[in-house]
């Protein structure tokens, strides 16, 4: 991405008109906040928030061999997915590290694969190189948009604009329908720890749906930027690629062992992950709560009894966790045990902290 011009989503001018603060993210100029990160966080936890996630890349997969092919490249099951089901998955390298974490959506006669914006070029090249048999890949970047409506009142806000009965949708399922009058896939998925929906539609239909949602529900629905999204996902214990999951940090280390299906006959990195699981003594992502209010930022050193134990990977003040300073840290196995007393080095001073189980926040 370095040196390449930043891209814009179909909603860029809408964000600017709403007074958004724009920052570079994943190769795009994206809204980091509108009214303010904490106000937007509050809207999602208590009412509903509207996000433009069109920077995330959408790839379409077709062909009789998609499921078997994808099963060999990823840790979770693909072939067992039923039509209109969504599933979290991770593409791994030979050492068990993560190329990317993704969601597969199985549709009628095709699959939709959503990859992180920052990994999109890498993943497109990787998938093309790995492509074989009856698998056809289509890069939908630039043609498609993704809006998310997240929060306890999401169904109430979105349902009137969607043809299908989305209130009946189960978590991690989707439906092909119309939203705001345009062809769309509506899925009950999200990245905030709240109930919510993600809507995939053509880029030129995105503004119509965005404007209709805000026009009808401005008192309930707040436009939300990537700043609030990051706090929400961290509280909910969800990994962010590049922080909790990288080419070097495996799904096991990231606490995503539930998604690693060793029962599959073969997948890239399986042997390395099996060896790691057997060994058991590997650095891993742990939740940390600091005693005081000082924010712990990515890269800060984590200490145990004065010795190096690891480093912070993400951190924030957490409005849904009593405004405490929370963080994820990659630490040695002993330091990852809940209740362990740790220190976080902030500007040369050690601040006391405790390891806690993830997630920090679970909706009631």
């Amino acid at each position: 991405m370095d040196g390449e011009p930043l891209r814009r989503t179909a909603l860029f001018d809408v964000h600017r008109a709403l007074g958004a603060r724009i920052v570079p993210f994943g190769g795009f100029e994206m809204p980091v906040q509108y009214a303010g990160i904490l106000a937007e966080h509050d809207a999602v936890r208590k009412r509903a928030g509207l996000f433009d996630l069109s920077h995330m890349a959408q790839f379409e997969l077709r062909g009789a061999d998609v499921a078997a092919w994808a099963d060999e490249l990823t840790v979770n099951h693909v072939a067992t997915m039923k039509p209109l089901q969504a599933r979290y998955n991770i593409f791994t390298n030979a050492a068990g590290g993560a190329h990317d974490d993704v969601i597969f959506y199985r549709l009628a006669g095709r699959w939709l694969l959503i990859v992180n914006a920052g990994n999109a070029d890498k993943m497109w090249a990787y998938l093309q190189a790995a492509c074989r048999g009856h698998v056809a890949l289509t890069d939908l970047r630039g043609e498609t948009a993704l809006l998310a409506v997240q929060g306890p009142r999401s169904a109430e806000v979105l349902a009137p604009l969607v043809e299908a009965d989305i209130a009946a949708l189960k978590y991690y399922t989707c439906v092909e329908t119309k939203a705001g009058g345009a062809a769309a896939i509506v899925a009950r998925t999200g990245y905030t720890g709240e109930d919510g929906f993600e809507v995939f539609l053509a880029a030129d239909a995105a503004q119509g749906l965005w404007d209709a949602l805000l026009a009808d529900h401005r008192d309930v629905l707040a436009p939300c930027g990537l700043g609030a999204r990051d706090v929400l996902r961290l509280e909910a214990g969800m990994p962010l690629y590049g922080h909790e999951l990288t080419e070097e940090i495996t799904p096991l280390q990231a606490g995503l062992g539930w998604a690693v299906k060793f029962g599959k006959p073969a997948f890239t990195g399986k042997a390395a992950l099996e060896a790691q699981a057997v060994d058991g003594d590997y650095p891993r992502i742990a939740g940390i709560v600091l005693d005081g209010r000082v924010p712990a930022r990515a890269g800060y050193r984590v200490l145990r009894n004065g010795a190096a134990a690891g480093e912070i990977r993400s951190g924030s003040i957490a409005p849904s966790v009593g405004n405490k300073s929370i963080a994820t840290a990659l630490v040695d196995a002993a330091s990852a045990v809940a209740g362990t007393r740790l220190g976080v080095e902030v500007r040369g001073t050690e601040y006391p902290a405790t390891t806690v189980p993830l997630p920090f926040y679970k909706r009631g």
Binding site: G36, I37, R293, I317
Partner: protein
């Protein structure tokens, strides 16, 4: 966006209110707005001796850490404990209850390195 009267400003977006040789210091409304939701403020210790324009503390928003550059040198007389326990006070009242610290001015001539409200308005208008 006129600044409150009677204050001096630094290019680092701090304000100074002088009362004899005692200076009260904070960050401007423009600065708090640029930072976004402020969640943590780290101030110098009472009794510390500060050099003009040195980085003497930090103010942290949800997303970022920024240094506080003291607009004047001198000895710290008092810090505002209220912003240490509730940093959002800086967002709500940057020129009032959100002040940072008071110091005893070391050298009156250092005032000449600061600017008026009108000049500060020009600075922020230029971006």
């Amino acid at each position: 966006m006129a600044q409150p009267p009677g204050l001096l400003f630094s290019k680092d977006h701090e304000w100074v209110k002088l009362d004899g040789d005692v200076a009260t210091i904070g960050i401007t409304d423009y600065a708090q707005h640029s930072l976004g939701d402020i969640v943590y403020v780290e101030l110098p210790r009472v009794g510390a001796t500060l050099q003009q324009f040195a980085a003497i503390g930090v103010v942290e928003s949800v997303k970022a850490v920024s240094d506080i550059f003291t607009p004047l040198g001198g000895d710290v007389l008092e810090i505002n404990a209220a912003v240490e326990s509730d940093a959002s006070l800086v967002n709500r009242e940057p020129f009032g209850g959100g002040w940072f610290y008071k110091l005893k001015l070391a050298d009156d001539a250092e005032k000449n390195n600061l600017m008026s409200g009108a000049d500060y308005d020009k600075l922020i208008a230029e971006g």
